[in-house]
């Protein structure tokens, strides 16, 4: 009787949507495109950790948290990677992580959501709105994908001699694919 009561109680205090998904990192990616001398150059982040906590039936009540190791940046060239870790860019030694935490998820059509939250990069926190598409995978799990737009000046990424947006553009086109397994 006593164990049944505790199970009942636990089910009451544990919200129904609290379902942490396992992330298949080998098939997940966070990438970006930034224009250099008007040339779109693709890059990405090799290491990141995702906490995805949501019920597929009610993703609106869920939560996403993404932590990116900025030192794991891939800019397409070794000297670009080294430069991006320096203080003028991400200052990876002092700010090793970029963090996004969702605050609100709202439905925007079948399988489509808009996630709003806070993005913190280089110690600067800015609101960010991310369209999110959830696609069921076979045999199981979900693909969470989307694109978002950032301005590097909002986070003081690439200041000093790099400030000129005609050399490295201010606009960053971000995109992600996260494979969530039960």
């Amino acid at each position: 009787m006593k164990w049944l009561l505790s199970v009942l109680l636990a089910s009451l205090v544990t919200p129904a949507w609290a379902q942490p998904w396992k992330v298949d990192y080998a098939r997940s990616e966070i990438r970006f495109v930034i224009k250099q001398m008007n040339v779109p150059v693709e890059g990405g982040f090799k290491r990141f950790q995702v906490t995805a906590d949501f019920d597929v039936a009610k993703p609106e009540q869920g939560m996403f948290r993404v932590e990116v190791d900025v030192a794991g940046i891939d800019t397409g060239s070794d000297e670009g990677d080294a430069e991006a870790r320096r203080p003028a860019w991400f200052d990876a030694a002092r700010h090793p992580k970029a963090v996004f935490v969702s605050k609100n998820i709202r439905r925007d059509g079948p399988g489509r959501y808009v996630m709003t939250g806070d993005l913190t990069v280089k110690g600067r926190t800015r609101p960010l709105s991310v369209p999110l598409v959830l696609t069921a995978q076979r045999p199981g799990g979900w693909l969470a994908s989307g694109r978002f737009a950032l301005k590097r000046t909002d986070f003081d990424i690439g200041g000093g001699e790099w400030a000129d947006p005609s050399v490295v553009a201010n606009d960053i086109d971000g995109r992600f694919k996260l494979l969530l397994m039960p």
Partner: protein, 179 residues
């Protein structure tokens, strides 16, 4: 009978020389330059100039074919073959040097947007190993081109000062022919 190439071809000859010198100077500077906004700008100019050489080449070839003047007409047979061979090699290298550069750029994942306006298609997909291969080929072709340009210029100087047959004056019509 006309004793030189048409004005357009003469202009294209000297323009190409200037472009090749500029691209070569930039390429040499870029090799030892640490990453900076200036480097990105110079890299862009290096590629834009290289692509200009590449795209001028078919025009030059067509005009030269239509021009009909044969610069080898006063040469001995062995000289004519050598001159024809060097000229053919120069044209092949003016094709290969920028083409390998373009291939390297594509394979490295940095597309070329000509003069920052016209996006050129990627010739190959992003591939690190392939990028290194094309980089090496670009460099080797450049070295060969530089040697042939030097040989070509040496021949012109030889004709001007030793043979005094007006070969250089044909390409530099404002130069007084030495007699």
């Amino acid at each position: 009978m006309r004793d030189r190439y048409g004005w357009t071809l003469i202009s294209l000859h000297w323009l190409t020389l200037l472009l090749i010198l500029a691209a070569y100077t930039l390429g040499t500077l870029l090799q030892d330059m640490p990453l900076s906004p200036t480097k990105l700008k110079l890299y862009a100019w290096h590629k834009w100039i290289g692509m200009l050489v590449l795209f001028l080449l078919p025009l030059r070839t067509l005009l030269r074919w239509r021009d009909g003047f044969d610069h080898r007409r006063d040469l001995r047979p062995w000289e004519a073959s050598l001159s024809g061979g060097v000229h053919a090699a120069l044209y092949v290298l003016m094709l290969l040097v920028p083409l390998f550069g373009w291939l390297h750029s594509s394979a490295a994942g940095f597309p070329v947007v000509w003069f920052g306006v016209l996006p050129l298609p990627d010739l190959v997909g992003k591939d690190k190993v392939l990028a290194e291969v094309f980089k090496e080929l670009h460099g080797s072709a450049v070295n060969l081109l530089v040697m042939l340009v030097a040989l070509h210029a040496a021949a012109a100087v030889y004709h001007h000062y030793f043979r005094r047959d007006g070969v250089l004056a044909r390409m530099l019509p404002w130069l007084r022919r030495r007699t």
